[in-house]
C-alpha cells in the first residue's frame, strides 16, 4: 500500500467519524446531566430525512443542516416531555423514540427516495489545501469536520471550566442535592436533552448531505446505537469520544476498502466488523465494574421528581 492509496482512506475515515463525533458528544452531554436517551438512532434518522428534504427543496445545504438539527431537537423535546415532565421510564421512552424515528423517517422519506442533492464539499483553503500530503490529510475537509473538532474543544472547556458545566455535572450526580441548593434540575436536563437532540439531528443530516448525499431508508445502519456505545467506551470523557469515533470511522472505512486490498472475505462478514467491534469495545471497558462506577454519572437513567 502506498501513500496514494492511504491518503483517501485516512481522509474518508475522518468523514465516517464525524457523524459519530456529533452524535456521541451530544449524548455525552445528556448523560452527564443524568439522562439516558436511547433514541439517538431515531433522532439521527429524522435529522437525516429532514436535512435532506429541506436541502433538496431549497437547494441550501445550510438550511438542510439547520433543519436536521431542529428535527433532532423536536424529537428530543418529545423525549424530554415524557421523561422529565411526565416521569416516564427513560429506557422505554428512548426505545420508543428510536422506533418512532425509524417509522417516521421512512414515512416522510418515501417521496425523497432516488433524489439527490449536491453533497457538502471540502474546503479549498488557498495554499494550504494544495500542499502535498498535508493538504488532503488536514486542509481539504468540509466545514462540519472542523466544526466537530471545535465542538469537542468547546465541550471540554464547558464541562471542566465553566460554572454551567459544573452545574450539569452536579445535576448528573445528585439532582436531589442540586434541587436542595435551589437549582432548576428539570430545566437544566431539558437543555442538555435538547442539545443532544440537535447534535444527533446534525449527525443524521451529515450522513444524508455529506457522506452519501441521498436518502435511503434506515440509512444510519445502527450508528445511533454505536454512538451510545462510544459514550460508554469513552467513560463519559469528550476526548475519548473523539478517539473512539475515529477508531470506528477507521473500522467502517477499512471494511469498505478491504476488498480492494485483495482480502477475500465475503463482504457481509466485513460489514459485521463495526458491530462486533462495538461489542468487543464494550466488553473491554465494562469488564471492571469499578471503571463504570467511577465514571458513570451517578443518577444516570434514574427517575427524578422534584416533589412538592
Amino acid at each position: 500500500m502506498n501513500a496514494e492509496q492511504l491518503i483517501p482512506i485516512l481522509a474518508s475515515t475522518v468523514g465516517a467519524a464525524t457523524p459519530l463525533v456529533y452524535a456521541s458528544l451530544g449524548e455525552l452531554m445528556v448523560e452527564r446531566a443524568g439522562v439516558l436517551n436511547l433514541g439517538v438512532e431515531g433522532m439521527m434518522l429524522v435529522g437525516a430525512i429532514a436535512g435532506f428534504a429541506v436541502a433538496s427543496q431549497t437547494g441550501s445545504l445550510t438550511l438542510g443542516f439547520a433543519a436536521g438539527a431542529a428535527a433532532g431537537m423536536t424529537l428530543a423535546l418529545l423525549f424530554g416531555f415524557l421523561t422529565l415532565t411526565l416521569q416516564a421510564n427513560q429506557v422505554a421512552t428512548g426505545l420508543a423514540l428510536s422506533l418512532f424515528g425509524i417509522g417516521l423517517s421512512a414515512f416522510v422519506g418515501r417521496e425523497f427516495v432516488g433524489k439527490v442533492v449536491d453533497g457538502l464539499k471540502g474546503l479549498s483553503i488557498p495554499w494550504l489545501s494544495d500542499l502535498p500530503l498535508v493538504g488532503p490529510l488536514l486542509f481539504r475537509f468540509d466545514a462540519l469536520v472542523y466544526a466537530s473538532l471545535v465542538l469537542f474543544v468547546a465541550m471540554q472547556w464547558f464541562l471542566n471550566r465553566t460554572r454551567a458545566g459544573l452545574l450539569v455535572r452536579a445535576v448528573g450526580e445528585s439532582p436531589q442535592a442540586a434541587h436542595a441548593l435551589g437549582y432548576p434540575v428539570i430545566a437544566i436536563r431539558y437543555l442538555a436533552v435538547l442539545f443532544g437532540g440537535a447534535m444527533s439531528g446534525l449527525a443524521g443530516a451529515y450522513l444524508s448531505q455529506a457522506i452519501t448525499p441521498m436518502w435511503v431508508e434506515s440509512m444510519t445502519a445502527g450508528r445511533g446505537w454505536i454512538a451510545l456505545a462510544l459514550v460508554v467506551f469513552a467513560t463519559w470523557k469528550p476526548w475519548r469520544v473523539v478517539l473512539g469515533a475515529y477508531l470506528f470511522g477507521g473500522v467502517t472505512i477499512l471494511q469498505l476498502h478491504a476488498q480492494g486490498f485483495g482480502v477475500s472475505i465475503p463482504p457481509e462478514f466485513l460489514s459485521m466488523l463495526p458491530y462486533l467491534a462495538t461489542i468487543i469495545v464494550l466488553v473491554i471497558i465494562c469488564r471492571d465494574p469499578k471503571t463504570i462506577l467511577l465514571n458513570q454519572p451517578v443518577s444516570l437513567g434514574l427517575r427524578y421528581h422534584p416533589g412538592a
Binding site: 436511547l38 418529545l78 415524557l82 411526565l86 416521569q87 416516564a88 421510564n89 429506557v91 422505554a92 421512552t93 426505545l95 420508543a96 423514540l97 422506533l99 418512532f100 424515528g101 425509524i102 417509522g103 417516521l104 421512512a106 414515512f107 418515501r110 445502519a221 445502527g222 446505537w225 451510545l228 456505545a229 460508554v232 465475503p266 457481509e268 462478514f269 460489514s271 459485521m272 458491530y275 462486533l276 462495538t278 461489542i279 464494550l282 466488553v283 465494562c286 469488564r287 465494574p289 463504570i292 421528581h305 412538592a308
Partner: protein, 365 residues
Amino acid sequence: MPRLEPRGEPSRAMSYASPVLAVALTLLSGYFLFSFLGKDPAQAFLVFFVKPLSTAYGIGELCLKATPLILCALGLALGFRANVWNIGAEGQLTIGAIVGGGMALWLHDVTNAWLLLPLMMVAGALGGMAWGAIPAFLRTRFNTNEILVSLMLVYVANLLLSWLVRGPWRDPQGYNFPQSPMFHDAALLPVLAQGIRTNIAFPVALLFAAVCWVFVAKAFAGFRFTVAGLAPAAASYAGFSAKRNIWLAFMIGGGAAGFAGVAEVAGPIGQLQPSISPGYGFAAIIVAFVGRLHPVGVVLASLLMSLLYIGGETAQIQMALPAAVTGVFQGILLFYLLAADLFIHFRLHWKRPRVATTHPTKEAT
C-alpha cells in the same frame, strides 16, 4: 392550572386503563393524520381496522401475523419485568430461522413431518437461545450492557442470513435470486384450516402465553423476576440471584424468538430470504409495553399490532397510503402509553388543594 400530585399508592385501575386510553388517542391521531394526508378518515379506518377482519382469510392473517409478535413479546415482557433489557429479539428470530431453516435444507430427504418439524422447531429455539446467550454471558460475566449488545447482534444476524442466501445456501435453480430452495412439504407447518394461512404455530404461541401467565402469577421464579424489576436491592437482599434472572430471561426470550423465526420460514415464507421479518422483533418491544408486560395483555396487544400491519398493507393497496404509516402508528401508540402511565403514579388536581385551616385569610403566595 392543573397540578400533578403523587398518589399514595399506584392505581391498579389506571394501569389497565392506560393502554385503552393510549389506543384511543392513537386512533384520534390517526384521524388527523389521515385528514392531513387528504384521505377520508372514515374510509381509512374502515380499510385499516374493519376490512381485514371481515373475512375468515383476514382473521387468519391476523392470527398469522400475531404469532411471531406474541412469541417475541412474551419473551421480552418476562425479561423487562426483571429489568433485563433484551431488545435483540429480531436477531434471535433471524438466527432461529437460519438454524431451523438450515435443518430443513440439510435434511431435505427426510419426508416424515413428524420427525422433521419437531427437529426444526427445537433447532430454531436453540438457535435463538444461543444468540441470546451472548448478551447474557457478556452481561453476567463482563457487566456489559445487554441493550447495546443484543441490538448489535441484530445487525450481525441479518448480515449472516444475507451471506447464507447469497452464498452457500442459494438456490441453484433460483435464477441467481438471493434465496434458498423452497422447503419440501414435510418441512412446512400444517395450516389450521383450509382457506387460511394460519398454522399450528398460533396455538403453540397461545399455549406459551398460558405457560407465561402461570410463570408470572403463580411461580416463585416469576415472583423473583418481579422483585428484581421493582427493587433490585430487595432482590439481592432476599438472595435472588441477578445472574440467574438474566440467563433465564435471555433463554426464554431467545428461545421464543428463535421459535418464531423458524415458524415464519416454515410457515408463510417457505424458504430462507434476505429478509424474513418486517421488524417483528422490534414491534414486540412495543407490544410488551402496551400489553403491560402481562401475558394476557401481550396476546391482546399482539392482535392489535398485527391488525396495524395488515391494515397498513391493505391501505397501501387500496388507498395508496404509504406502508410506513404502520411504523408511525406503532411509535405514537407507545408514546401515548408512556404518557398515560403517568396517571398510575400521579393524579391531576385542577385546583390548589383546599386546606381546612384556622387562618383562612392568610393565603401564602
